[in-house]
């Protein structure tokens, strides 16, 4: 017992790092962005199209049709700044199409959307990216025949050496290149890819490519990161590390929107979940609200999948089965039928 006060004593006097960490756990309002977003969304009703306290992205009346198929038809959707918004839905729900529309890779038939109040409707993908909205792809796009470090450097914005004429005068871009390389190495270290920096990206494993793609997106200092199935095809250990990285993005104040199928992952990291089915937003709310939502369960598993049979229905099914057995087995069908029933009861 006398030993106990000894380790406890230094705690109040510990350096600031430990103190800040403790504060982020104990006092949510004190500045941990994760809990800020949670707190801000606490009083938001669980309704489709609900207004958020501080929306970064606002989508209004966006539709996209391919021939006769309406892939996306979203009336109103707001994405909270500084939070992690999970976008879920069954296959073909229009999640990736919505991503493509938001990042300029596809143009909608109608509707408008804005980022920080600036309309994005007519912008090309690279213009959207320059505003600070970067995305990753469902099928990872590592640039195979470039090294990992070159992949990273490509992500940096505003590079002077990327202009044709200035490229010819190395003096104009050397210093910037050095700074970018330093930043890239820091990110690679964080994503544990620093030892691979001179390998071709094409030699990386699937999970490492996912990491590289995320790290490359971060090179551009984005405000919004849109991740299309970041965990698809990644082993469980790496999933944990990727989850950590996604949470880190929020800690750094970025807004994260991600598409995911794994509900455990969604529940673990999202502050807010948006559920799509057949191109529409059918539900939104905090992660715990969504799994109880009848519309969501119906969309994933089909309506009436687990509605209990009524007594009449049960009797009818039973009678049909017995009649069938009786037809096959002839006179002693009844005996066998009751035998079977008895066996089932056991």
């Amino acid at each position: 017992m006398p030993a106990e006060p000894v380790p406890a004593e230094p705690v109040p006097g510990r350096p600031a790092a430990g103190g800040a960490h403790a504060a982020s756990l104990d006092a949510p309002a004190a500045g941990a962005p994760r809990l800020l977003a949670r707190a801000a969304l606490r009083d938001v009703p669980w309704e489709v199209g609900v207004a958020k306290p501080d929306p970064a992205i606002v989508v209004d009346g966006v539709t996209r049709t391919f021939g006769g198929l309406t892939a996306v038809s979203v009336d109103h959707l707001e994405v909270q700044r500084g939070g992690i918004t999970g976008l879920i839905g069954p296959n073909g729900a229009g999640k990736t199409t919505l991503f493509n529309l938001l990042t300029g890779f596809d143009q909608p038939n109608t509707g408008s959307w804005s980022f920080d109040g600036r309309p994005l409707g007519k912008l090309a993908p690279h213009q959207v990216a320059r505003l600070g909205v970067v995305r990753t792809f469902q099928l990872t796009k590592a640039l195979s025949r470039l090294t990992v470090l070159q992949n990273m450097l490509l992500g940096a914005q505003g590079q002077r050496g990327e202009s044709f004429w200035r490229a010819l005068v190395p003096g104009t871009w050397r210093a910037q290149e050095r700074a970018n390389t330093e930043k890239a190495m820091e990110l690679l270290t964080r994503f544990k890819l620093d030892r691979k920096k001179d390998d071709f990206a094409g030699t990386l494993s699937g999970g490492q490519r996912k990491l590289l793609e995320m790290a490359r997106a971060l090179m551009s200092d984005p405000k919004v990161v849109m991740l299309d199935e970041p965990m698809a095809g990644v082993n469980p250990a790496l999933t944990q590390s990727l989850l950590g990285h996604v949470k880190d993005l929020r800690e750094e104040g970025m807004t994260v929107v991600f598409v995911e199928h794994d509900m455990d992952v969604v529940r673990d990291i999202s502050d807010w979940v948006v559920v799509m089915a057949a191109g529409k937003v059918i539900a939104e709310g905090p992660p715990e609200s969504v799994s109880q939502n009848q519309a969501v369960v119906d969309a994933y598993l089909g309506a009436h999948h687990d509605a209990p049979l009524t007594v009449e229905e049960e009797d009818r099914v039973l009678a049909e089965a017995e009649a069938a057995i009786a037809r096959e087995e002839g006179a002693d069908g009844d005996v066998i039928g009751s035998d079977t029933r008895r066996e089932e009861d056991r």
């Binding site: 990042t103 890779f105 090309a124 993908p125 690279h126 213009q127 990216a129 320059r130 970067v134 995305r135 990753t136 792809f137 796009k141 640039l143 195979s144 025949r145 470039l146 070159q150 992949n151 450097l153 490509l154 992500g155 914005q157 590079q159 002077r160 050496g161 990327e162 202009s163 044709f164 490229a167 010819l168 190395p170 871009w173 290149e177 071709f200 094409g202 030699t203 793609e213 490359r216 997106a217 090179m219 551009s220």
Partner: protein, 332 residues
């Protein structure tokens, strides 16, 4: 033995001659477009035609100075690149390939057509436009100079000197570009243009720059060829030359600065060596006349080149300078 050395000397001359320079410049241009940026330009010869005729028409027909002719040729190449690129570079890679191959054939037929005869002089072509250029030579162009066992005329020597200087400058330009962030962007476009778009780069602009640069290099090649032959004829600019340049590029190694140059030199060396060597062997009776006659040699040398390329692709797909690891990444 002496004949073999003679054949080697003749082949060496071909490997250093203006035709090799022509092929090298075409291939350097294709290397920028295809090797680094991933653009399929199957009509590189159209740019060479505009380069050659830019000088020929300006000087012979319009009476303009030589230098203006050079500028006209380069300007025409830029315009052609923009015309081809504007509609196709937003689309998939195949559309540029289709447009360029059609432009190459179309332009050649246009230049040799009757209605264009007042300007291009039709199939008879143009001549006598290189006087200003030859006059610039610092040595006596009328004399013959023996170099490495072959004889070079002063004019020939001047064209090749200027030509290799152009090749060297082009290589320097490409080297500077591909090691810069600009080069990193175009190489990334070759790998996956959507990823590059998502990172905030204007892919269309970079593709256009690469197409124009490659076209200008092709135009320079056409100028060297026109000055080397001292004439411009539409049928000199057959689109087969584009594919010969592709072969040279693959032989030397794509996406390598010196790949297209060495590939072009080797290509002409091998073609000429096969030609002279086979003729010598037939003349000596070592190859019997009824197996292979001297008239077949012109065809058989290309068969040999084709076989050589096939062996190259099987055993060294990366070409002479390429990086095998890099090429193998594609096969996965």
């Amino acid at each position: 033995m002496g004949e073999l050395i003679d054949a080697l000397a003749v082949a060496l001359k071909a490997g250093l001659g203006f035709q090799a320079i022509f092929l090298a410049l075409l291939a350097i241009g294709i290397n920028v477009q295809f090797g680094y940026t991933g653009l399929l330009n199957f009509g590189q010869i159209a740019f060479a035609l505009l380069g050659g005729y830019g000088i020929a028409i300006s000087v012979s027909q319009w009476g303009l100075p030589f230098w203006v002719g050079v500028l006209v040729g380069l300007g025409a190449a830029v315009v052609l690149a923009l015309l081809l690129g504007l509609p196709t570079l937003r689309l998939r890679a195949d559309y540029l390939a289709i447009a360029t191959i059609a432009a190459a054939e179309g332009l050649r037929l246009l230049f040799r057509s009757v209605s264009a005869t007042p300007v291009t002089n039709g199939t008879r072509g143009l001549a006598g436009f290189n006087g200003d250029f030859v006059a610039l030579a610092p040595w006596d162009t009328a004399r013959q100079y023996p170099i490495l066992g072959t004889r070079w005329s002063g004019g020939e020597l001047w064209v090749t000197t200027v030509g290799w200087a152009l090749v060297a400058l082009s290589c320097l330009l490409v080297w500077l570009l591909v090691r810069s962030p600009w080069g990193r962007v175009v190489k990334s476009i070759r790998e996956d243009e959507d990823a590059v778009r998502a990172l905030g780069k204007n892919v269309y602009l970079y593709k256009m720059q690469a197409l124009v640069l490659g076209g200008v290099l092709g135009a320079l090649g056409g100028m060297v060829y026109a000055l080397g032959t001292a004439s411009a004829n539409p049928d000199q600019y057959q689109n087969a030359n584009t594919f010969l340049a592709y072969a040279a590029l693959i032989l030397g190694g794509a996406a390598r600065v010196l790949g297209p140059v060495v590939g072009a030199m080797l290509m002409y060396f091998i073609i000429q060596f096969a030609d002279t060597g086979l003729r010598t062997l037939i003349g000596n009776g070592i190859i019997p006349e009824d197996l292979l006659s001297a008239t077949d040699v012109a065809q058989i040398r290309f068969v040999l080149i084709g076989l050589g390329l096939m062996l190259l692709l099987v055993f060294r797909p990366q070409g002479i300078f390429g990086d095998r690891r890099e090429v193998m990444l594609d096969a996965r």
